[in-house]
């Protein structure tokens, strides 16, 4: 339930939003108009339903959104002379096809959009969030977010419905939402899990299942990833009894079905790594050799420096710190998190003074407050300035 609107099951309402948008499109509204009308109906609904929730929120939204749409069209009918067409009682469109919602995913993450525009549009039109909720989640003024969404819609307005969508950009957008932080009353990671689950219900593509497995397996560890004071807890120190076993098990099952299709992709490979962690009771019991093998697959697919960096950590666990350091040589030391990884591998190579210096450098280069603070604590620990009771 949303903190903003205690009378409404927000998740249930968000789930029906894409169907409401496509219902309006089927009745003849274009995407831009339909999406605006649904947003207006949604904002009205969230207020009106606090005292009097409807039995069927979807039917309520379709009715009110269509009325909003007619009002909007009428208000400039003189200019556009389209009244005759829209005044007709719409034919009850054919039963909704799941392809409609899939098309909506593709449109909102269209490759012509920048990441922030695609994320915002996806969260509104497919995710059913209000502009205000999205603005708060990304810490920008509501007017800015409204403009970002309008521009995004103008950009994709002319795209034909039958263009084949680019699944890769949809997955990137969902993963971007997942890995963003959360602020305001919306938990973006949870929203991303919900939307990825939705997408996985619309297509059998193994990479969609791969992303779903990855976000489930990652999300399952969330409550163990920070302590009571909000400090980051590294994987090796996490209390694994706090991992959400049911969610992790679901992730593993989803991944197994995806891998059975024998079309490996980057999300499946990353999910496989996450599944190996989920499978182990501690870092000592983790099958690091297999983790490295999955990273080899991942690097073969993406050739991404970020993935090579993650692989170096796994190599350090499997074959010792010096091997991990050797795996770093081809990478640019200026890249994000390089210093942090290098620090860790130096520590594993019994070079604490170098490690302490590198942790300090890494803290300077961090892009997040929690990471910076974590790295500062690591540097202080190696310099013998740990807190009482801390290991090391």
């Amino acid at each position: 339930m949303s903190e903003d609107h205690p009378g409404v099951d927000a998740a249930l309402v968000r789930d029906v939003v894409p169907e409401v948008v496509t219902a309006l499109v089927r009745r003849g509204a274009d995407f831009t108009e339909a999406e605006d009308a649904v947003q207006e109906a949604l904002v009205r609904g969230l207020t009106a339903w606090e005292d009097d929730p409807p039995r069927d929120p979807k039917a309520w939204l379709v009715t009110v959104a269509w009325r909003c749409h007619l009002d909007a069209v009428r208000s400039d009918a003189a200019r556009r002379t389209r009244e005759e067409r829209v005044e007709q009682e719409p034919a009850p469109g054919p039963a909704l096809q799941r392809d409609d919602t899939l098309e909506l995913f593709f449109r909102c993450a269209h490759p012509s959009l920048g990441p922030s525009a695609a994320v915002a549009l996806t969260l509104r039109a497919v995710g059913g969030l209000t502009t205000r909720q999205i603005a708060r989640a990304y810490l920008v003024p509501e007017a800015t977010m409204a403009q970002r969404i309008s521009r995004a819609k103008r950009t994709v307005a002319g795209r034909r419905l039958d263009e084949p969508g680019d699944l890769g950009t949809v997955l990137r957008v969902l993963y971007l939402v997942f890995s963003e932080g959360y602020a305001g009353d919306v938990d973006l990671a949870t929203e991303a899990v919900r939307l990825t689950r939705r997408l996985a219900g619309l297509t059998d593509e193994p990479e969609v299942a791969g992303l779903l497995a990855l976000v489930l397996l990652t999300h399952a560890r969330r409550s163990a990833r920070t302590d009571a004071e909000g400090r980051l807890v590294p994987l090796a120190e996490q209390d694994r009894s706090r991992w959400d076993e049911a969610m992790a098990a679901e992730g593993v099952a989803v991944l197994q079905r995806a891998l059975a299709q024998d079309r490996l992709g980057e999300y499946q490979a990353q999910a496989a790594v996450a599944a190996l962690h989920a499978d182990a009771r501690s870092t000592e019991e983790t099958d690091w050799v297999q983790v490295v093998e999955w990273y080899d697959e991942l690097v073969a697919i993406t050739d991404s420096p970020v993935h090579r960096l993650a692989r170096a950590v796994a190599v350090g666990e499997a074959d010792g710190g010096p091997a991990g350091l050797a795996a770093l040589v081809s990478l640019d030391p200026e890249m994000p998190r390089y210093a942090a990884v290098s620090a860790y591998l130096h520590e594993r190579s019994d070079r604490p003074a170098d490690a302490a210096r590198l942790y300090r450098e890494a803290a300077e280069a961090a892009t997040r407050v929690d990471e910076r603070d974590h790295l500062r604590r690591q540097a202080a620990r190696l310099a013998g300035r740990g807190r009482p009771g801390d290991p090391g």
Binding site: L139, R151, S179, E180, G181, A192, L232, T367, R368, D370
Partner: protein
Amino acid sequence: MAKYLFLKHYVGGPAPVNDVPMDRWTQEEVDAHIRFMDDFADRLRESGEFVDAQALSPDGMWVRFDGEGKPPVVDGPFAETKDLVAGWMVVDVDSRERAVELAGELSAAPAAGGRPLGEWLEVRPFLDDRPNGTTSA
């Protein structure tokens, strides 16, 4: 999706290209400069990248804690302090490249003779302080 701060300095940055102090500009030149700033902020609002813009008075003071039960110490301004921030703009953009592009445009605000000021803007990325979904050491 990263926030950047553009800091304008009264004093402390390297000299601008068009290095005529504002108190020697004509009224029209001042007006044109201010109009450019307003229009620039409006364009960012329209592009969905605007977060905040504020100007600061040059009159400031230095304040520090001075022990339990004692009022804070107020001092300054210190003549030896070289840096004086005039104001800032905060943008939320897709990339570092976009932040640099926007700062470059902002630096071109018209100044004396209607020519671009070419002032140096300090561009600083924000650290994200929201808890996030995937951070793992």
